[in-house]
């Protein structure tokens, strides 16, 4: 049996030093990984909270949409039931009932259209930037939603001016804002457009009673409606849609009180060169 090789103290010291170093490095890695895991956990918790909020908003939206759909359906179902079992006594009465059916039918139609528009815009809304003739876009919007009989929209639009934007979306925004002015406001109506190299500002105003202060904080939320809403009710989704479109175009929309009375909706859009 050969004698056991003798290990020098220097060799032992070197080995000890190497092992210490390895262990030190390993501890560093463990610490870093722990720290990263902790951060990842925080991010995950945050994402979870955001998802829960989103889910809740969606659930609320669906409940509200169902509520909004049920209201005209109630009128339609009840009225057709009554018409069938108890025909109106006069032609005028029949006309009244038919007008009501038509009104509620239109309301359902508009609501379904806007819901589909919003659904189509879930996630990212498609935007097609092209050269848009401002005066032509305004003209197209006014043709799509002409002012009520006996009224007009005063337009202040520079002729021959073009901007880089999305024509269809621009018209969609104008159509919604004009429709709201006719429905909730009162004449004189006005539509102004200004532009420069960087941005484009649209202003739609009326001189009606103005926006109910109680609804202002939620004005652009789905189905926000004032206590003073009268006449034919809208879908409750128009301004939500406007905001979504404007944001997809990289702009902003806001409301101001009009002087001396009424509402004023302003949209600023980038002029995308």
């Amino acid at each position: 049996m050969s004698p056991r090789p003798r290990v020098s103290p220097e060799h032992l010291a070197r080995r000890l030093e190497r092992e210490r170093k390895t262990r030190y490095e390993a501890e560093g890695i463990a610490e870093r990984v722990t720290r990263e895991l902790y951060q990842a956990n925080l991010r995950l918790a945050q994402a979870n909270r955001e998802l829960a909020e989103l889910y809740e908003r969606q659930a609320r939206f669906i409940a509200d949409a169902a509520h909004e759909l049920r209201t005209p359906v109630t009128a339609l179902v009840a009225l057709t039931g009554i018409l069938a079992s108890d025909p109106p006594a006069s032609g005028a009465e029949l006309d009244d009932r038919l007008a009501m059916l038509a009104r509620q039918g239109r309301r359902l139609h508009e609501l379904v259209d806007k819901l589909l528009d919003l659904a189509a815009g879930q996630g990212s809304l498609e935007v097609e930037i092209q050269t848009v003739d401002l005066a032509a876009a305004v003209q197209a919007a006014l043709e799509a939603v002409p002012p009520p009989p006996g009224t007009r929209v005063e337009t202040v639009v520079p002729t021959g001016v073009t901007v880089m934007s999305d024509q269809v979306r621009l018209e969609q925004v104008l159509v919604n804002l004009l429709g709201n002015a006719y429905r909730y406001g009162a004449p004189p109506f006005s539509l102004g457009v200004q532009s420069d190299d960087r941005s484009l500002v649209l202003v739609v105003s009326d001189e009606g009673p103005g926006v109910d202060p109680g609804v202002l904080p939620r004005l652009f939320e789905p189905f926000a409606r004032g206590a003073t809403s009268v006449g034919e009710v809208g879908s409750g989704l128009g301004l939500t849609l406007v905001r979504r479109v404007v944001e997809a175009l990289g702009g902003e929309v806001w409301h101001e009180a009009n002087r001396p009375r009424g509402a004023r909706f302003c949209v600023r859009l980038p002029n995308r060169a």
């Binding site: 409940a63 169902a66 509520h67 909004e68 049920r70 209201t71 005209p72 359906v73 109630t74 009128a75 339609l76 179902v77 009840a78 009225l79 039931g81 009554i82 079992s85 108890d86 009501m100 009104r103 509620q104 409606r225 004032g226 206590a227 003073t228 809403s229 009710v233």
Partner: protein, 120 residues
């Protein structure tokens, strides 16, 4: 004697058809389109029954019930809650408040039948 029903509904077209149905059922209908008006109306004159929409501008239907009950104005007045918010929560709340419940949309005859039942 004709029995009087207070109908609280903010949608004019819905109010119109409900009124038609109730009148056909032999009731006299008094309408209010807001919660505040309903409270004032009932405090002036107690009806035989109350048909109450829940979502109203201003104070809602639940608040109407609370205000009237706080002053004992609804004793022995049956209440039918109408709601387009057809959830279990609304139904349960109506039951807890001692109200009959009818989800929108409903057939007019169903309302008349239900009202007849709660009025005994």
């Amino acid at each position: 004697m004709t029995r009087t029903v207070v109908l609280v509904e903010d949608e004019p077209d819905v109010a119109f058809v409900v009124r038609l149905a109730l009148e056909r059922g032999g009731y006299e209908v008094v309408e209010a389109s807001t919660g505040e008006d309903a409270v004032a109306l009932i405090l002036r004159r107690t009806p035989d029954a109350l048909v109450l929409d829940i979502r109203l501008p201003g104070i809602d239907g639940w608040e109407v019930l609370e205000r009237l009950r706080d002053v004992g104005a609804l004793e022995s007045v049956p209440v039918v809650v109408l709601s387009a918010h057809a959830t279990r929560e609304t139904r349960d709340r109506a039951a807890r408040s001692g109200c009959a419940y009818l989800a929108k949309p409903f057939r007019p005859d169903d309302l008349v039948t239900l009202l007849g039942k709660v009025l005994g």
